[in-house]
């Protein structure tokens, strides 16, 4: 149950919303973004792409089915997508007092307390979302209402959203997940665990390496390479872009980018990326496959996107967003290099594009033989 302590969310433009705290007591700051999914909060809250951001849920009821038992150290089991809550803070309209689900061992509030992340309930998240949509994403401060503003601005915990953020979310060193005969290198700049699970479940062994590791030798050994998702601005990952360019030049391995991976691949290919006004965060984003004309509902979480007009020759858009026409994927004309802006691994969200993992592994297998 929300303790009755008054909390405040203040936006850059001065908008103030009042609610009640139900998580940790400390003040935080960060980019305020909204997600329109109606279920899957455990998956979203542990998605590293949200690192450093204050997340607003537009669906008014949060925590209905509680939170499952914490997973063992080193485990990558779902529904968790990383070892910890990644968001800076959480803003909801109404948090469930008594969750109900056979897997639930704790409430949303208990979870946030145990990981000392602040959360606020009782805020009109629709009105807040309309503000964010009209102004684009803004910085915000989440704090107890009693805390003086200057103090908040001074002391609120805020992540360094430049290169630092990527160091926070990637596992420190290389980890191997045995799964089968094919060897896939997953480049980790905050990759969701379900990318690894999806590959292993399809009979691949995964080598998960942080983006700052020496990737070339690993790439050489791999049958295929996946560049995972992650937070922040791809342009802050210059070193990775450089490494990738080298790898693409040296060995022709099937290469599959996801989310941030789409942007990194674009940059490595010589294209450009830009920031969307308020990004795509939800599980109902429609995309069209430009090769087949088929449309799919996808899970998404990104604030930056590939600029179609920046694609060099030899590259072309692959998927496009049916709503706003923004880029949802690119592919090379000559090489087995392709990527998507959405999340085929879902979790949370629809599994309609999971077939992309099959296609990728089929290709990797055929090129290996």
């Amino acid at each position: 149950m929300p303790n009755k302590q008054r909390w405040r969310l203040e936006l850059e433009d001065g908008t103030v919303s009042l609610g009640f705290g139900f998580g940790a007591g400390r003040a935080v700051a960060g980019e305020v973004v909204f997600n329109t999914a109606m279920s899957g909060y455990v998956e979203s809250l542990t998605d590293p792409s949200y690192r450093g951001q204050i997340l607003v849920l537009t669906y008014p009821l949060a925590g209905n089915y509680g939170v499952p038992a914490p997973r063992a150290r080193g485990s990558i089991d779902g529904p968790y997508e990383s070892p910890r809550i990644q968001v800076q803070g959480l803003v909801v309209q109404h948090v469930a007092g008594e969750p109900s689900h056979h897997l639930s061992t704790r409430s949303l509030g208990d979870w946030f307390l145990s990981e000392s992340v602040p959360a606020v309930t009782g805020i009109d998240t629709r009105t807040l979302t309309r503000r964010l949509r009209e102004h684009g994403t803004m910085r915000g401060w989440l704090s107890p209402d009693s805390m003086p503003l200057d103090e908040v601005r001074r002391d609120a915990d805020e992540r360094d959203m430049r290169e630092g953020i990527f160091r926070e979310v990637a596992l420190p060193d290389v980890v191997r997940y045995p799964g089968g005969s094919l060897d896939v290198l997953v480049i980790d700049a905050g990759a969701k665990d379900n990318i690894v699970r999806s590959l292993c479940a399809r009979g691949a062994s995964v080598t998960r390496a942080p983006w700052h590791a020496d990737l070339a030798p690993l790439a050489e050994k791999a049958d295929g390479i996946v560049i995972g998702n992650g937070p922040g601005d791809p342009k802050d990952l210059g070193p990775l872009v450089a490494q990738l360019r080298e790898i693409m030049g040296r060995f022709r391995r099937p290469l599959f980018g996801i989310c941030l991976g789409n942007q990194i691949l674009c940059l490595a290919a010589g294209g450009d990326t830009g920031k969307l006004p308020y990004g795509h965060r939800g599980v109902n984003q429609p995309v069209r496959d430009l090769l087949t004309g088929r449309c799919y509902i996808t899970s998404q979480n990104h604030g930056y996107a590939v600029r179609d007009d920046s694609l060099p020759t030899g590259w072309r858009p692959w998927f496009v967003n049916v709503n706003d026409g923004s880029n949802e994927g690119i592919r090379s004309d000559h090489d087995p290099y392709f990527s998507v802006q959405f999340h085929p691994e879902a979790s949370p969200g629809p599994q309609d594009t999971a077939y992309l993992f099959d296609d990728f592994l089929r290709l990797a297998a055929s090129m290996k033989a």
Partner: protein, 1077 residues
């Protein structure tokens, strides 16, 4: 994967409607059908509609290019196809009726023969879903789980299967809806009776199935286009778990207790299943989900628009029927624009930032002998949908919307003799039982254990129950915090006043003082992610700002009819929609207020602003004060808005049309009767009874029994009954008192053997401008809503008609009526008595409008706005006859005696036209389910005089129709005495040939059973015959007058092919009349 070439666009399409409203198949199909017609016409497709439901919007002028008001049967459909040279047909917008008609057309090879293409989902796929065995097999092919089951074609097979299955088990009939014939069988001894019910009425297949009671029941609405793009628009979770039909369950959208893994698992299965079955368009898939694992079963797929799809459309703002129709025309989802955002397409899945709660409305108390428990078979007659941000907010709104006299989730709303029993065997009141149990300290765990309702829902009710307590606690005061907390928990001002024992209006005053008003939020399908131009709004106390401001335009607000219940349904929605359309045509901005998801009036593109919310003094004032319209129309939505007129008027609202003071004068019996006396208009003698003691004396003053006992201010004869002797009177008084305590009971002389006549009219400043007189075939005593209406009257003296017209004119001027009104009369010889006068649109407005070609609702609306309308059309000069016939759902109401009385019992109606009474009557009866007799007729004529009254008709049956007559004891003697040959049959099985056996054997296909006069419950034996008749679907007539009219019609029309003609052929004149003048 993308489809190579799209099918050619159809040119002339036949849309099949769902016929009369009945339990399990109600207003939602008017909504889906209307949307389909709209979608077709947008594409320039010549649209033909076959639907006898004359009260619907889809059968209105300006909808289909050609309208056929006839029974939806393969024969008639085929004839329409030939006549109209139709090249294609839509089967999935008219419920089970249309689907089954389509299947029959296919099976008889008629579609092929006539070269008609089925648009959308192919019949083969429909069969795969309707045949429960094929369905199981098809899903096995892709490894999708269904409940363990055996499909059986006979009771014998079923008995064997049940033996193997073990108990408890579930029986389900194929090719049905509303759970017809289905049910739980908990022990072998119950099986024979259950099977008899399941197979009754020509059911060809019954599924014997593993019982999944207590599992979560979840539904998804799925859309797939010809390019194989597939989405799920919405999922829904039943608060009442498996075992209680989705139509009988409280339902929330989206699901509340599913985690993402479960949500996506079921979503993925839905899409795989729909692709495998080859659905093209919309369908609904139902699941049982194990609450303790991810184990699931697919219960069924409905390969058509459904009650759930209408609900999902209203819940999300995604127009499923419209999109399904576009897909049928060959469009792919991404090619169809999202009408709400105008910026995105129909290929997306709505994200809700609110939740909705649907609650069913039952009228079981209206039926003598009805089994009160609810289960896998539908009994509810309507539903409501509440929108809000928390469960307490929506459940409280929803329960108030039901209009059953509760102030929300009130633990004290009802008394329960045995609370645990109530929780274990659900009745319509179970939800209140849960609240009561919480108040009495029963644990959530215990309640869950008994009801299997997910603890989340029960926990969410706790704060509501506590607040009811907090309000009633002594020392509680109306401070801003309490007020805010209560409003956020969905409490009405009235509930707060009542709880704190304050004057009505106190909470409202406090809200004004503390500026505590609801905010109005948009339903925008995308949770504010994109700017939306939507006008679809709901109110909530959980928002800090409203999404859109009122406009500066001239505007008028129209109050809808609210929940459908017996006595008020689609006919009033027709009136409201026509009012709104007329207002728009006159250049007004229109604001519609209604909360019934089955309606067309809650289709957001009917009006400029749709406020999907309560129709109560509180909510209407909140909207009115915000929008500041020029006025409010309360006379189109039936009794619900009509009853608010006076209080709204006192609150300073401008009511358009007749002055509310005068509405009140007509409603208040005392005042009204004084007015009649002053005008020298006769009325049945009556008196007020305030204490039961004086009742008998009063009856003597009235001239003795029988008397009619009724409370005022009720529609559809609720709690009205006839007393034939003192004890009966006492019983009824006791019952009547409880119904409306603040109104005294009225006892009037019950006139026997009187004709009943009605006038529907429109007046302007006291001038009668439009009027239509309809005559009932039945004698007075059969509620006007259950009577068979004839327009223009065929058997009424001109003198009587003149008198009635004059009385209507006198009343119009005496009450200074402007707008719609209706007067009911009794006629004996040349004497005319007024029964009642309603200063609002009546149930028969759509009927008289479509028969005369004058739109009474539109005309009334114009007059209320002071705009000159059309010149009167003489409704007696018509060269055709219209007959309106009732539709009953007795077959679905176990135990109920299918008898007619002063309490309305019908759930729907049809209306047909013909050159003469007989033609129209036969068409109408046929459209209401009557089948022509070919085997034999059973006569069981109660009262002695009736036996002789019916002599001529009996002779016709024998000599002209050449049908064998079977007759029960007394009747057989009477016929013999008259020299009419017949076979005497016993009433009970046992000695010799019994009526029952003959009915079961199909030897009898027409039954005339006139219950012993004035026997309120019917003699048991008569009851058995009547009950067996409705259960076997054998045509049954319990009214002598109607039976006589029928036999005469059968005789005159024997051997004649009844012509099938479009409405436009009967009323060519209205064709070229502009709709928006």
């Amino acid at each position: 994967m993308n489809r190579q070439s799209k099918p050619a666009k159809p040119r002339r399409t036949l849309v099949l409607g769902s016929g009369a409203l009945q339990i399990g198949q109600a207003g939602e199909f008017d909504y889906s059908g209307s949307q389909a017609i709209k979608a077709l016409k947008e594409d320039g497709v010549y649209t033909v509609l076959l639907n006898p439901n004359i009260a619907t919007i889809q059968t209105s002028e300006g909808m289909a290019d050609r309208l056929y008001l006839f029974a939806v049967t393969p024969e008639i459909a085929a004839e329409v196809i030939r006549k109209e040279r139709v090249d294609s047909i839509l089967l999935s917008f008219g419920g089970q009726t249309a689907l089954n008609c389509g299947i029959a057309l296919q099976e008889r090879g008629l579609l092929k023969e006539l070269g008609v293409r089925v648009l959308g989902t192919p019949v083969s796929a429909i069969l795969d879903t309707e045949d429960r065995q094929l369905f199981v097999d098809r899903l096995k092919e892709i490894g999708v789980k269904t409940a363990r089951s055996t499909a059986c074609g006979s009771a014998a097979e079923a008995r064997r299967a049940a033996g193997k299955m073990g108990y408890p088990l579930m029986l389900r009939a194929g090719f049905a809806l509303g759970g017809k014939g289905s049910g739980i069988v908990s022990r072998a001894s119950e099986l024979p009776a259950a099977l008899k019910r399941a197979f009754s009425g020509g059911v060809r297949q019954v599924l014997v199935e593993e019982y999944l009671g207590g599992w979560k029941e979840i539904e998804y609405e799925v859309v797939r286009d010809g390019g194989d793009n597939c989405i799920t628009v919405c999922n829904m979770e039943n608060l009442d778990p498996m075992g209680i039909h989705t139509g009988e369950s409280i339902v929330v959208a989206p699901s509340q207790t599913l985690n993402d893994e479960e949500y996506q698992m079921l979503r993925t299965i839905a899409i795989r299943t729909v692709r495998h079955l080859g659905i093209v368009g919309e369908c609904n898939i139902q699941y049982a989900l194990n609450p303790d694992s991810v184990d699931y079963r697919v219960i069924e797929v409905n390969a058509r628009l459904s009650r759930s799809s209408a609900l999902a459309s209203k819940a999300t703002g995604y127009p499923l029927a419209y999109v399904a129709a576009k897909i049928a025309l060959g469009y792919d989802l991404p090619e169809i624009p999202n009408g709400i955002t105008k910026k995105t397409t129909a290929f997306f899945e709505p994200a809700l930032d609110y939740l909705v709660c649907k609650a069913p409305r039952w009228d079981l108390t209206k039926f003598h002998g009805a089994v009160k428990q609810i289960g896998s078979e539908m009994k509810s007659v309507g539903e409501v949908m509440a929108i809000g941000r928390t469960f307490p907010e929506v459940i409280q709104k929803a329960l108030r919307m039901l209009d059953i006299g509760v102030m929300g989730l009130d633990p004290g709303a009802f008394e329960f003799a045995d609370l645990e029993e109530e929780l274990r065997h659900a009745t319509p009141r179970r939800i209140f039982g849960v609240a009561r149990a919480l108040r009495e300290g029963m644990s959530v765990a215990r309640i869950h254990e008994i009801t299997h309702i997910d603890p989340w829902f029960i926990h969410a009710m706790v704060p509501v129950v506590d607040m009811f307590g907090r309000l009633r606690a002594d020392g509680a005061v109306l401070d801003p915090e309490l007020l805010r907390d209560a409003k956020r928990l969905g409490f009405s001002d009235q509930a707060i006043d009542d709880g704190l024992r304050l004057q009505p209006g106190s909470a409202r005053a406090a809200r004004v003082e503390h500026a505590l008003r609801p905010c109005f939020a948009q339903i925008d399908t995308l949770a504010a992610e994109f700017p939306a131009e939507t006008n679809y709004l709901y109110s909530t106390y959980h928002a800090t700002a409203s999404d859109i401001a009122p406009t500066a335009r001239r505007k008028v607000m129209v109050l809808g009819a609210g929940v459908y219940r017996i006595g008020s349904s689609v006919e009033f929605d027709w009136c409201c929609v026509n009012a709104v359309q007329t207002l728009s045509a006159l250049g007004y901005e229109t604001i519609m207020v209604n909360y019934n998801p089955e309606t067309v009036s809650t289709d957001y593109d009917i009006c400029d602003r749709l406020v999907f919310d309560e129709i109560s003094l509180e909510s209407v004032l909140d909207i009115y004060e915000r929008e500041k319209p020029e006025g409010l129309i309360v006379s189109m939505g039936g009794q619900v808005p009509n009853n608010l007129a006076m209080r709204l008027h006192r609150a300073g609202v401008r009511i358009l049309g007749t002055d509310p003071e005068n509405i009140d004068r007509a409603e208040n019996r005392q005042v009204f009767s004084a007015l009649l006396d002053r005008l020298g208009i006769d009325q049945p003698a009556w008196r007020h009874v305030t204490d039961a003691g004086s009742a008998e004396r009063i009856v003597r003053e009235l001239g003795g029994f029988p008397v009619l006992v009724r409370p005022s201010y009720v529609l559809s004869g609720a709690a009205m009954s006839i007393a034939h002797e003192p004890n009966e009177l006492d019983r009824i008084l006791a019952r009547a008192k409880r119904v409306s305590p603040d109104h005294p009971v009225v006892v009037s002389k019950f006139e026997t053997r009187a004709r009943e006549i009605e006038i529907d009219a429109v007046a302007e400043r006291g001038e009668l401008v439009h009027w239509a007189i309809s005559e009932h075939i039945e004698d007075a005593g059969v509620h006007s809503g259950d009577a068979t209406l004839v327009l223009p009257p065929q058997g009424v003296y001109i003198a009587t008609i003149r008198r009635i017209r004059r009385i209507a004119a006198e009343l119009a001027s005496a009450l200074a009526i402007t707008g719609p009104f209706n007067v009911q009369f009794l006629a004996k010889h040349n004497l005319v008595k007024v029964i009642e006068c309603n200063l609002r649109a009546s149930r028969s407005f759509p009927f008289v409008s479509k028969v005369t070609g004058v739109n009474f609702a539109a005309e009334a609306t114009r007059r209320m706005l002071g705009v000159p309308g059309e010149n009167p059309v003489a409704s007696l000069e018509l060269d055709h006859v219209g007959v309106k016939a009732p539709m009953f759902s007795f077959g679905r109401l176990a135990g109920v005696d299918p008898m007619l009385g002063v309490e309305m019992a019908s759930t729907g109606e049809v209306g047909c036209l013909g050159d003469d009474l007989q033609e129209a009557l036969l068409h109408a009866l046929h459209a209401a389910g009557f089948r022509y007799p070919v085997k034999g007729v059973l006569l069981s004529l109660g009262p002695v005089e009736d036996k002789y009254w019916f002599a001529d008709e009996a002779r016709l049956i024998h000599e002209q129709l050449h049908l064998p007559i079977y007759a029960t004891g007394g009747t057989a003697e009477a016929l013999a005495a008259l020299g009419i040959p017949c076979t005497a049959v016993a009433k009970q099985p046992g000695d010799g040939k019994s009526a029952m056996e003959l009915i079961d054997a199909g030897e009898i296909d027409l039954i005339v059973n006139v219950p012993r006069e004035y026997d309120e419950y019917g003699r048991p034996d008569g009851y058995l015959i009547r009950r067996r008749a409705v259960e076997t679907g054998t045509p049954l007539f319990t009214d002598l007058q109607l039976a006589r009219a029928l036999i005469e019609a059968l005789w005159r029309k024997r051997g004649v092919e009844l012509p099938i003609r479009a409405w436009q052929e009967f009323l060519p004149a209205t064709r070229n009349r502009a709709r928006s003048d």
